[in-house]
Symmetry: C2
Subunit: 280 residues, 2 copies
């Protein structure tokens, strides 16, 4: 893509800080400005931004691209609030883990000439704060771009080019399809990790190995980030949980009934599915 | 510990091969012999053993310590078969992931002067075969040693010294307590990883990120290894699954009922438990 002049990052935590670092290091934007409701967050991010702004209006004014890196329940309100201060032609996007509610709440509420198309980089971490920002966070990672059915093709192309310039791969899918898929591929693993960690009696904590630790790693994510994600995608997460519990019921039947052939078949199915991911 | 003269490894896969490498590199044994029912397994392990033997009897004759590194449903039978060929004073142990059934099946079936005490190193990998053997596999890892209530203290001390000489930490607990704890800290995570991987629709495989991959890593383990582990620890695994499903039911209630306070409390509980492990 041709380099953009000004990138604005709203919310300078781990993801927003990484975005700012990546854009500066790769020359994707001539200038990266940003803001955060927490002055402490901005102070933790020295060297991440070219300019820290104290308020939303001045942070987005003049930006070619604005990326909202906030909890999913705040993104739509921030985008709608920012709209009137954006210049015509500005492209707004976000990094939220759910998409349908955000896209629905922003739809029709931006000034003419200002566009919003949702994004979701599959590049997270259980760490928080701009002090954990990494300029290579998006390299080789997948970014899902989720336009409304009637979205402007040129806007979509600009957004895809923006993410590719940061080193990411891009796939396009609808907001509702995104939320159904991610309920199973991202939100359900988080729920399982959290339930498993929560089920550990403290007296057995010393008897955990790398297997338990890998399986529960996601549980260290912030409840303040993940609570809103689960709430925004409630129905799809419940559907994914139903699906998982169907598989757990088959394991239970195999164990309780001494059905060794079924047990090995279930283990084999899980292995085949997981081994397939390793090759991607 | 004082160096032993001969260590015998029965089953030269990833774990057995790592044990042989570690014992040689750290000078724990003057000589490491081994055998495997599969000639191919032995051929994959050049340089791992000092001597490869074609049969169990010659592999254990003259050994001071014999370690059975076989699937859990084969260990007791191998130990009982090896007993008559062992020299008086020989100490037999294993690396199996379940302990109660093995200890029960070996009890009273060895010649006088030959001892068996179970071990379980919490040092696995989803990789198989001696070509993945690592001489540092046990360094800093926990080995659970599971004597019968009436076990000889001197034998227990020899076994603990053996594992410590390989770089491991040692904890002692009873075979039944081991199996109840490991059902939750090791076997249940494997079951969950397998069920989650198995629940992934192939068309969404491309929408998985590092979170899904970490949570399901264990699913790549061999069904030939894990089937026998689940079968040997059926009741305790079902009990651990009950416990987990109690936690899943609370997540379901929080989501379905819109109980945001409960949802955040559950996520907070999982985070606190998982963060506690990171500090160990």
């Amino acid at each position: 893509m041709s380099t953009i002049d000004t990138l604005s990052v709203v919310g300078v935590g781990m993801l927003g800080g990484s975005l700012a670092l990546a854009a500066r290091r790769r020359g994707v934007a001539a200038r990266v400005v940003g803001t955060d409701p927490s002055p402490a967050a901005l102070r933790r991010a020295p060297g991440v931004l070219d300019e820290a702004r104290p308020d939303l209006a001045s942070a987005v004014a003049g930006a070619d691209v604005v990326v909202f890196c906030a909890p999913v329940d705040c993104i739509a309100a921030l985008a709608v609030a920012a709209g009137p201060f954006c210049r015509p032609g500005a492209l707004l996007t976000d990094v939220g883990s759910t998409k349908a509610a955000i896209v629905r709440e922003v739809r029709g509420r931006l000034p003419a000439g200002v566009s919003f198309v949702g994004s979701h980089p599959l590049a997270g971490s259980e760490k928080h704060g701009a002090e954990h920002a990494r300029g290579d966070l998006f390299e080789g990672r997948l970014v899902l771009v989720t336009p409304d059915p009637g979205a402007d093709g040129a806007v979509l192309a600009r957004l895809s080019d923006f993410w590719r310039a940061l080193g990411a791969r891009v796939e396009v899918l609808g907001p509702e399809e995104h939320d159904r898929a991610l309920a199973l591929t991202s939100h359900l693993p988080h729920l399982l990790a959290s339930a498993l960690a929560g089920a550990l009696p403290p007296e057995w904590a010393g008897l955990t190995g790398t297997g338990f630790r890998d399986t529960t790693r996601l549980a260290s994510g912030s409840p303040a980030v993940w609570g809103p994600i689960f709430r925004a995608n409630r129905a799809a997460v419940l559907e994914a949980l139903d699906r998982l519990e169907g598989h757990l019921a088959r394991f239970r039947a195999a164990l309780a009934g001494g059905d060794d052939a079924l047990l090995e078949a279930l283990l084999g199915q899980g292995k085949q599915s997981r081994d397939g991911l390793a090759q991607r």
